[in-house]
């Protein structure tokens, strides 16, 4: 590590100012090759989609020249627009549930449990195979005779999204000084007031970051939605999937590019907020 001399107490600041590190030894250029290859591997497929979204050709795989025509046409495609609306409804609903539930869950875990067992159980749905969750939820819904539709997708997405929110809020909580809540109690504030005035504002960056992540994850979730929605109300990923089977039209590229833009913006926002976590400001 190049930062061996950094005082441990400034750890939080460290990641904010990478430029402060001394440029000690010139590293050989060759080392950068695998780095760039790695990035290329990760981002070439995405780059192709973005470039082809400006392709004038009807054929998905032949470049004919630059054009913006697929963007307006995308908005004429009723099937896709309906899918987009469905997806936005699902993502918003699932995020709302997950944010509230995840925050309360994290608070409860932090305050009323010891050890990692309960904690691990709360976060597990985030890493469980989607297939498993999908089948399980479908079975559960039919057992409870809950009809399928957007509402069932909302509930289904809320399950794994809650796990993500919980994980992020817990991480934020771990950085907080536990005596803040004690100080509030000591000064005469009851448990509810303490939660609203001290705990919640301190958790806010984590909660917002968790919500943004939940939203983006729900936005492009396919497997679980496929299992739990009604055929008449497909979400966007399902619409695209069914279109691909009958031949993709170039609007898909335009749509993918727009979604990419939205995702990037949210992820950056979420990361900025999570990073605030480390600093006492």
């Amino acid at each position: 590590m190049a930062d061996a001399t950094v005082n441990p107490s400034t750890t939080a600041m460290r990641e904010l100012e990478p430029a402060a590190r001394p440029r000690a030894v010139r590293k050989p250029r060759g080392i950068l090759v695998p780095l760039w290859l790695g990035y290329a591997f990760l981002y070439l497929p995405i780059l192709v989609v973005v470039i082809m979204s400006f392709n004038d050709s009807e054929n998905l795989f032949v470049w004919r020249g630059f054009s913006l025509r697929w963007y307006p046409e995308l908005f004429q495609n009723e099937q896709m627009m309906q899918g987009l609306v469905n997806t936005l409804i699902v993502a918003t609903g699932a995020t709302a549930i997950a944010t509230v539930l995840g925050t309360l869950l994290a608070y409860g875990i932090q305050h009323y449990t010891r050890g990692g067992f309960v904690r691990a159980f709360a976060i597990a749905p985030a890493i469980l195979p989607d297939l498993l969750l999908g089948i399980g939820l479908l079975t559960l819904f039919s057992l409870l005779s809950i009809s399928l539709g957007l509402h069932s997708v909302i509930l289904a997405h809320a399950v794994f999204a809650t796990a993500f929110v919980t994980a992020i809020v817990l991480a934020r909580m771990a950085t907080l000084d536990p005596s803040l809540e004690e100080a509030s109690r000591d000064l005469g504030a009851g448990p509810v007031r303490t939660f609203m005035r001290v705990t919640l504002p301190q958790l806010a960056p984590g909660i917002v970051a968790g919500a943004l992540l939940a939203f983006t994850l729900s936005l492009d979730e396919f497997v679980i939605a496929f299992f739990t929605t009604a055929p008449t109300q497909p979400t966007l990923p399902i619409v695209i999937y069914s279109m691909v089977r009958f031949g993709v039209t170039p609007e898909v590229n335009a749509l993918a590019s727009l979604l990419l833009l939205v995702s990037i913006v949210t992820v950056i926002a979420a990361q900025r907020l999570t990073r605030l976590t480390g600093t006492p400001k």
Partner: protein
């Protein structure tokens, strides 16, 4: 004390799993007193403070303020306020809002809140920082904010958990004086938890010395220094030459140096330790003295010098303090005489077993255990034998 105590702690016992943090602690604190709970880390002082504040629940015992049972009240209903070791300032609020938080929670009206916040900020000298965030303040300023926030509600009792430990040495010295001044000015009762005996000695009216969850001695600083009740107190408070030996009618008989004269209440033959403060060690001409040694080191401290003398038959050198600079140099032969000596019983069966093993191992030897003032060491914790 003739009047009823402000705080009464009675038979408080606290347990964490298998460890007993407090063994039946009882003590009274009077109104307007500056009281210190002193002891090495793990001695239970913080547990006691947090039990008074309401963040720990003792297994048994009573804690009363003005005769009212505190243990039945949740923390936010208790007439005490605490200044936390980490200060625990709310990072998302300005200094002003931090200080006003307690009044707001109490439902104090806006104009009264304003004037009381301003008043208390003036007392701690923070008026000019009212709109700052805690992250924009220095350590000393944060400490003042924490203090202002804790006193603004005029609690019956102000609890301070290691109030000065986060400050650097120079600021700490001035804050010690300031805390003392403030206590007089606002007329509150202070209970300070500290591991720093110098801090406790310089600020407190009375000190309770705790070790391993037991109250070792409760007395004024002067009394603790002059008449320690136990060997631990003698070694923890200030610097002391400790000579382990056997009580006799006229003092303590110490193997290697003979009799040390002192009055005491022990029976002859009891295991005893003579406690001689370095300023009570007198130096004499070697030739005419019965106890002789060789100077191994001298430390000049400005107002005084400490001389470390090796005496044959003793494991640790004897420390002597003299005024000003000294002409005595390393290698000189000197005679040693003891002035005033205090006597404590050596811990027998009553004390915890693991400490006894230590005490027995060097029973015949003398050892010097010193606090912060030791010229040789700069470690603040004088004793390592503390169990967590």
């Amino acid at each position: 004390m003739t009047t009823a105590p402000l705080l009464r702690v009675e038979g408080v016992r606290a347990v964490y799993g298998d460890t007993v943090a407090l063994h039946d602690i009882s003590l009274d604190i009077a109104d307007n007193e500056f009281f210190a709970l002193l002891g090495p880390s793990g001695c239970g002082k913080t547990t006691l403070l947090r039990s008074i504040a309401g963040f720990e629940t003792p297994e048994s015992g009573r804690i009363e303020v003005d005769g009212r049972d505190l243990l039945r009240m949740p923390p936010h209903k208790r007439p005490v306020n605490m200044m936390f070791q980490s200060y625990a300032l709310f990072p998302h609020m300005s200094v002003e809002r931090n200080v006003g938080y307690g009044l707001e929670a109490e439902g104090v009206g806006r104009s009264e809140l304003r004037s009381r916040v301003q008043e208390v900020m003036a007392v701690v000298g923070l008026e000019h920082l009212a709109t700052r965030r805690p992250s924009q303040l220095s350590g000393g300023q944060r400490q003042r904010v924490a203090l202002a926030r804790a006193i603004v509600k005029r609690p019956r009792l102000l609890l301070l958990d290691e109030p000065l430990s986060a400050l650097d040495r120079q600021v700490r010295a001035s804050m010690q004086l300031e805390l003392k001044r403030l206590q007089h000015e606002v007329g509150l009762t202070f209970v300070v938890v500290t591991h720093d005996q110098e801090e406790a000695m310089s600020m407190a009216d009375r000190i309770a010395v705790l070790r391993d969850g037991r109250l070792e001695q409760l007395a004024s600083p002067q009394e603790l220094y002059a008449d320690p009740a136990t060997r631990f107190v003698a070694s923890f408070i200030g610097t002391a030459n400790l000579f382990d030996g056997t009580a006799t009618a006229t003092g303590v008989d110490v193997p290697g140096i003979g009799g040390v004269a002192a009055t005491h209440a022990l029976a002859a033959g009891d295991a005893a330790t003579a406690v001689v403060r370095p300023e009570d060690v007198e130096l004499a001409v070697a030739a005419t003295s019965s106890l002789r040694g060789t100077v191994v080191d001298t430390y000049f401290l400005g107002g005084a010098s400490t001389i470390s003398i090796e005496v044959p038959g003793l494991a640790a050198p004897i420390l002597a303090t003299v005024h000003g600079a000294t002409r005595i140099a390393r290698g000189d032969a000197v005679g040693v005489r003891f002035g005033r000596a205090a006597v404590v019983a050596r811990e027998a069966a009553a004390a915890s077993v693991d400490d006894d093993a230590d005490a027995d191992a060097d029973a015949a030897a003398s050892d010097v255990e010193s606090g912060d003032r030791s010229p040789a060491g700069d470690a603040p914790a004088p004793q390592e034998e503390v169990s967590a």
